[in-house]
């Protein structure tokens, strides 16, 4: 049999793990510097916790885990007789794989509310599962990388997230645009234009402005029974992207003004600080309308055509569904797979992360091999990542192994080298070589 893995899943090779860890470690370092603490939640959650949180479509995309043992003994017999898969699920499956990190986080906060200090700042880097149709570059199992600050309404956190985003992408060596908007501004615009009941349709249409232009947006809105007058008014509103002008235009909408004021306060926090990346107020930005209620964020690459590399925003009621109302929070989620693809495409991964190993020891006979094992131990004692070819095989074979495993240096140990205690150190890439004592080799290869 030829083994395979499920569609939509993937193996990570050593190089891919090293590179992904480089991204994770960069993000983690910034998270921790800003006071975010790591938590982990189980891969399996009760289906009760997950169902109904992601809409009907989301419920269908949840992976459900079959109950163990004689699961049919408690199955819904009506559903069984009707061959009703949907109706049967609840009675044969009580657990599912998590779909995101946000709902498990809300569940965590409610369950541990008495151990937690609020505001609680946590980060979480774990895989999630969605039974989407697998596509090139899109998987059913993928990592999410979230930070949230929960238990405070302070807009300081929004400002802090801008700084964190700025630092992460700068450290990764990527050039991005950080977009910010506020859900209240979207509500204010809809109110001012006279379509408060069509806000979702409006934001979905306007979100495409950059791609389809005003003609395209207008067509879509007319289909949603927005009048030409309202569209003209909307167009005027989006004519300027200046905060002050917009505030004037939506001045009669209390919620709209509140949104503008919130963005303004975020910018006040940032006013004396210089960002490396570009920060843009973008009133067309809509994002996950489901639970965001205040500021929203998005990050786009300025170098590569690709979807957003980060999303986030403020939510007023994340934990309410689990019985803890009135806890405001704000969070961001890095799109690690996209960041990986962009860095890969632009060749931005540092070279030294792929290969932690420094040197291969090559012994030429059995006696030298035992001797080399001691040399290897000396290198390890000096924190030099090194390995010894497992047997005194032909020189050519051992050199080929060094080459194909990308080991930068080789030390050759023959009987003469052994008796003189001076060894041949060779740099594989440029062929330079030296006769050195072990102490000299250690000096040369030691990490700084």
């Amino acid at each position: 049999m030829k083994p395979t893995i499920p569609k939509g899943t993937r193996d990570y090779s050593p190089q891919e793990v090293h590179r992904q860890n480089f991204i994770f470690d960069t993000i983690k370092k910034v998270f921790e510097k800003y006071g975010y603490q790591p938590i982990e939640t189980p891969v399996m959650e009760n289906l009760d916790t997950l169902l109904g949180k992601y809409g009907d479509e989301g419920d269908k995309l949840l992976f459900k885990v079959l109950n163990n043992g004689d699961f049919l003994s408690k199955a819904d017999t009506d559903a069984l007789d009707r061959r009703d898969s949907n109706g049967l699920v609840n009675s044969i499956s009580k657990r599912g794989l998590r779909y995101d990190l946000t709902v498990p986080f809300a569940r965590y906060v409610v369950m541990h509310q008495h151990e937690i200090q609020f505001p609680f700042k946590r980060y979480q880097i774990q895989p999630v599962w969605r039974a989407d149709r697998p596509q090139k570059g899109r998987y059913q199992e993928f990592y999410q990388c979230d930070a949230d600050a929960i238990g405070s309404e302070s807009l300081m956190y929004e400002a802090e997230y801008v700084l964190m985003i700025d630092e992460v992408f700068t450290r990764l060596g990527l050039e991005v645009e950080i977009k910010i908007n506020n859900r209240k501004i979207l509500a204010g615009i809809a109110e001012t234009v006279g379509i408060p009941d069509k806000m979702v349709a409006m934001t979905v249409a306007v979100d495409k402005l950059d791609k389809v232009g005003w003609d395209g947006v207008a067509n879509e809105l007319i289909a949603s029974e927005v009048t030409q007058d309202q569209i003209d008014s909307l167009k005027k509103m989006y004519g300027s992207r200046q905060l002050e002008e917009l505030k004037h235009l939506i001045g009669t909408s209390a919620i709209g003004v509140e949104g503008v004021n919130e963005i303004t306060e975020v910018l006040v926090y940032l006013s004396n600080l210089s960002l490396t990346q570009q920060l843009t107020f973008d009133p067309t930005l809509a994002r996950g309308l489901s639970y965001y209620t205040g500021c929203i964020f998005e990050v786009k690459s300025k170098e590569v055509q690709i979807g957003s590399m980060l999303g986030g925003g403020r939510y007023a009621n994340l934990t309410e569904v689990f019985g803890l109302p009135g806890v405001s929070g704000v969070g961001i989620s890095f799109g690690v797979a996209r960041i990986f693809d962009v860095m890969q495409e632009l060749n931005r991964f540092p070279e030294d992360i792929d290969q932690p190993i420094k040197v291969l020891l090559v012994a030429l006979d059995e006696t030298c091999h035992k001797w080399s094992f001691n040399l290897l131990h000396e290198l390890h004692t000096n924190e030099i990542p090194a390995h010894l070819y497992p047997e005194p095989a032909k020189l050519k074979k051992q050199m080929k192994y060094a080459d194909s495993s990308d080991t930068p240096y080789v030390i050759m140990i023959g009987s003469e080298e052994m008796s003189q205690e001076r060894y041949l150190l060779k740099h594989m890439a440029d062929g330079d070589q030296w006769q050195l004592s072990l102490a000299e080799i250690i000096e040369k290869l030691k990490p700084n």
Copy 2:
């Protein structure tokens, strides 16, 4: 509703994540120094890959994932009509959660054999799932932490594992006994005693020698129809735990002598090196008889009564079941949960790993708060982990937050401090405080 998590799963608090990561990082560092490279495999594997690899009992303990969509449309109707859960599973579930890291590793090696350089040294730290009955301290979802070297028969790797184990436990600050044995010695003993067909019963019984003594072992063996003469002979064999004596006693068993010679060669590799931990040849050691064929390892705490903290050994045929025969390998698996419990009990976790955050900024009014945000940014620019209370709340409230979140230092910023640009830095534990400029604070708190 009060949310819960599935039985047998757990949340990890920030402290638990930090502590577990301390163990992982310690192990990883040693793995990488010895040339082991990380891989990751998907949580879901095809059930084809998993079934039949862990015995009947293991098959029952696999978590199976329900097929998506209208899974009943392809269900085995006979099994449905008979309400036969076991018979139905295959037709409604094609994926399962991995049960260990060994089978996925074998699957990985076979699938990627043409990209891999042999010997291939990989490590893997990921969770696994088993539907065991949950008990205190035993979970259905738990981490495994494995290293394997595959594609070489060299006993150098066995010696290398002894050094790696020695270094990991020493770095963790634990005192352990590293036990080594060889499956071939067990076969040789059984052969010599005249019970080659009862080797499994023999090893299972002898494995309990330390607990139940020879009377207990004898009772168990008699139940397996081993004669008193054979038991006497076995007792004599185990009278000495010296390799040379044992070699003499089992001298007529070719496989037994081979086992002794293998252990001897491992010890030759180690002969000039001094270990920190105790290494013991223990001919009673049996371990997972299922696939081990050569040397086997186990680690026991010398400080706490608890099961083994590491297991491992050599296997001749791990990848054969996936169509790649004749690839010998050797590997170890750290019992991270047990190591965690032992370190917790003995209070061996370093103090500074729980709290990466260094200082809380406490602002006394709105203007100071905005100003403090700039100070915070300066601290971050100097790589000092710091946070600012999100609003100028009452001093008492902010100090309480510093205290309950275990933040070591507080900086207080009032209007006077702001105008003089000198701030009050307070050490929370001993109450010491200083009036300092920002530069002086940075100097004091900067990481070394």
